[in-house]
């Protein structure tokens, strides 16, 4: 009672924070909102627009899960996290899932007790240097000063790479990508290293992108994906298959344009029928409604549509599909069958 007066009005939305460890799915349903951890801002992946609406590639995953569980892609409470606060936020139950371009690594999966449910972007760490430096390979970077984000896997990869090649470097630690850009442009560091997607986005924002080159070496595997807490497999399944539904939809040719028509009645393709709930009981098995996948896809389109809208070649970021193409197109996206 005391609390209701003292803190009551201040905490209306914070009520939802601190969900119990088990039964996240029920918690989310009871709350009517999904608490989704995102970054405080990364170009193309997650950032609020001028109207305060979150937009981006990772945000698309959050919205798809919210649509699958609650039927409403806007029923998401986006909780911004930094590289340092993201794991505590998830472990303490403040958020239900984390979609914050987080690399799937052994220790994060096993030691930190998280469950990576899939990969929504295959990235790799690269280097960007000014053309004037005349460097054409990362192996020529001996003695270079390198701008690097702290608290990320890129920091560790960099140390590994330079040690393996027996060359030295001087790190310039930075906090965010936004901080790195002016430092790099002013020449505080010779090289900027981060995930190749981030390099592309950064370079695209420069006044003269042509003066800078991304070196050919990709020194690490960075499978970025959403993650949940250990020990709640039902919830993990929901997030995993919501993501898989987006990828499968692209593979099966289901788009936000034709999904209305396709989900009206069972069609010729049994897998599409199972995916969209016109056949079988996949939704029920997950503890969701039959049209869960349809809702997830309608939230922002299939995987390819979300990609094109936020980071694809027609956006200022201009990333090609590369590894993130369907397996049928030579990429790595390969989802287990919906059966």
């Amino acid at each position: 009672m005391k609390k209701s007066v003292f803190f009551g009005a201040m905490t209306v939305a914070a009520l939802a924070a601190g969900a119990a460890a088990a039964g996240t799915l029920d918690d989310v349903k009871a709350r009517g909102k999904l608490n989704c951890g995102v970054t405080t801002g990364l170009v193309g992946f997650a950032a609020p627009d001028a109207n305060g609406e979150w937009q981006g590639f990772d945000v698309g995953v959050c919205r798809a899960v919210a649509a699958a569980v609650l039927g409403d892609p806007s029923a998401v409470e986006f909780v911004p996290t930094t590289g340092k606060t993201r794991f505590t936020a998830l472990a303490s139950g403040e958020i239900d899932m984390l979609a914050r371009n987080t690399t799937w690594t052994f220790s994060r999966d096993v030691d930190l007790k998280f469950e990576f449910v899939g990969v929504n972007y295959y990235d790799g760490q690269g280097f960007m240097v000014p053309k004037a430096l005349g460097v054409s390979s990362a192996k020529e970077l001996d003695g270079a000063t390198v701008c690097i984000q702290t608290g990320t896997t890129t920091e560790l990869n960099l140390a590994d790479y330079f040690r393996t090649n027996n060359i030295s470097y001087e790190p310039v630690p930075i906090e965010t990508n936004a901080e790195a850009q002016p430092l790099y442009l002013e020449g505080a560091c010779d090289v900027y290293t981060t995930d190749a997607s981030g390099l592309a986005a950064t370079r695209a924002a420069f006044e003269n992108p042509g003066d800078h080159v991304v070196l050919p070496e990709i020194i690490s595997k960075e499978p970025l994906g959403p993650l949940v807490r250990h020990g709640d497999s039902e919830w993990g399944d929901v997030v995993r298959w919501s993501l898989n539904a987006l990828i499968a939809a692209e593979e099966l040719g289901v788009t936000s344009a034709n999904i209305g028509e396709m989900s009206m009645a069972a069609g010729d393709n049994p897998e599409i029928n199972r995916l969209l709930g016109t056949e079988g009981t996949l939704g029920e098995m997950l503890g969701l409604s039959a049209d869960w996948a349809k809702n997830a896809i309608m939230a922002g389109g299939n995987y390819g549509e979300i990609f094109e809208k936020n980071i694809g070649e027609n956006t200022p970021i201009g990333l090609g599909r590369g590894l993130n193409a369907q397996w049928t197109d030579g990429g790595l996206l390969y989802v287990p069958p919906f059966r």
């Binding site: 009672m1 005391k2 209701s4 007066v5 003292f6 803190f7 009551g8 009005a9 201040m10 905490t11 209306v12 939305a13 914070a14 009520l15 924070a17 601190g18 969900a19 119990a20 460890a21 970054t39 405080t40 801002g41 990364l42 170009v43 193309g44 997650a46 950032a47 609020p48 627009d49 001028a50 109207n51 305060g52 909780v79 911004p80 996290t81 930094t82 340092k84 606060t85 505590t88 936020a89 303490s92 139950g93 403040e94 906090e175 965010t176 990508n177 936004a178 901080e179 850009q181 002016p182 986005a201 950064t202 695209a204 924002a205 420069f206 006044e207 956006t315 200022p316 970021i317």
Partner: protein, 431 residues
Amino acid sequence: MSDTNTTPVAFVRDAMLPEQAAPITAAGPLAWIKKNLFDGWFNSILTIVAIYFIYLIVSGAFPWFYNGVWTTDSLAECREILQGKTGGCFSVLTERWPQLLFGFKYPSEEYWRPTIAFFALFVAVAPVLFNKLPRKLLIVTAIFPFAAFWLIWGGSILVPIMVAVGLIVGYVVFTRLVYQSSAMGMIGGLVATVAVWMLSGYITDPLSGFLALEPVPSRDMGGFMLNFILGVTCVSLSLPLGILLALGRQSDMLIIKWICVVFIEFIRGVPLITLLFVANVVLGYFLPPGTNFDLILRVIIMITMFSAAYIAEVVRGGLAALPKGQAEAAGSLGLDYAQSMRLIILPQALKISIPGIVNVAVGLFKDTVLVSVISMFDLVGMIRGPILASTEWNGVYWELWLAAVLFFFPICYGISQYSQWLERQLATGHR
């Protein structure tokens, strides 16, 4: 008297010469320039070098302001308009202006509420800052915290009213009991306040729609508004707390003294950013699941504790500067401890401490930007996070940070000017 001087002498002047202007080399602008800028070869060289640097800065910065673009929707459009010319892309400020002020989640149709609270703040603090204003204005000061809370957070007006009622009841009980003993007065007051708060839940819960504004949760607060809320609240809370701590540290009562010493020394020995991380992350582990302890409240508590410890030390310096005779004189007049503190010691000690207190207050106000590291979107958090990470504005730096400077500078400078004015007002002692 001799008459030798009665005849006029030809060479003695009998009329005053008209006043003449001082020679151009001794007064006027030229003389000023000569005296202040070109006094000797060394100063002349310095002047010329300085003028050259000023020229460099102005000629570099002027086109940047003059060619500035104010109306585009993205950095790319700015560059298109500028066509390689030097020029600022100030459109980011016009487009994201509400976000810089209020954060990105405060509902835009409710912006009028914090705006009113902001202007009401000046009315509310005026009687505290200027004692020539009518004392009746203090009523506004007393009402302001509750009204501002209601305006900014929304919800039923009953919640702040009941909090206020609780405080009033506590105060009344205190004044009734304080004649018996001051400890009883304090305990009684505290119990009464808490009791009213607990009981008021029965009123506010069913009537939650009564005169309710649309509630805005704490995590939707942001922008400069957040800095301002934190700054104003923490400064006004930490000043009384700091004075109490300073008095407690000088107390003869051993337990109180050691509590205050340990508190002050511990808090001063920990970086503020650590306290903020504790508020944000670690408390989440300690509190039972489902507990909701408002994040802004946690941060306010941490910052208040931090600055109270510093203010306590500043005030202790002021207390130590007073001759012992002041306290003894107060005692010989028959004043008790509370009276002698209130009437004799503190007015003098606080006067001495003004520069130090203002220093802490200005520092505290600027330190509120540290909350951006615990993913709260204050002014700096907004710039570093959402605005620089948006596809449209990725790459705009100078304009945004310049804006941040222009937000903070007038306020900090204003506080500093006020404190100097106050020192002059209170300069009644012998120097």
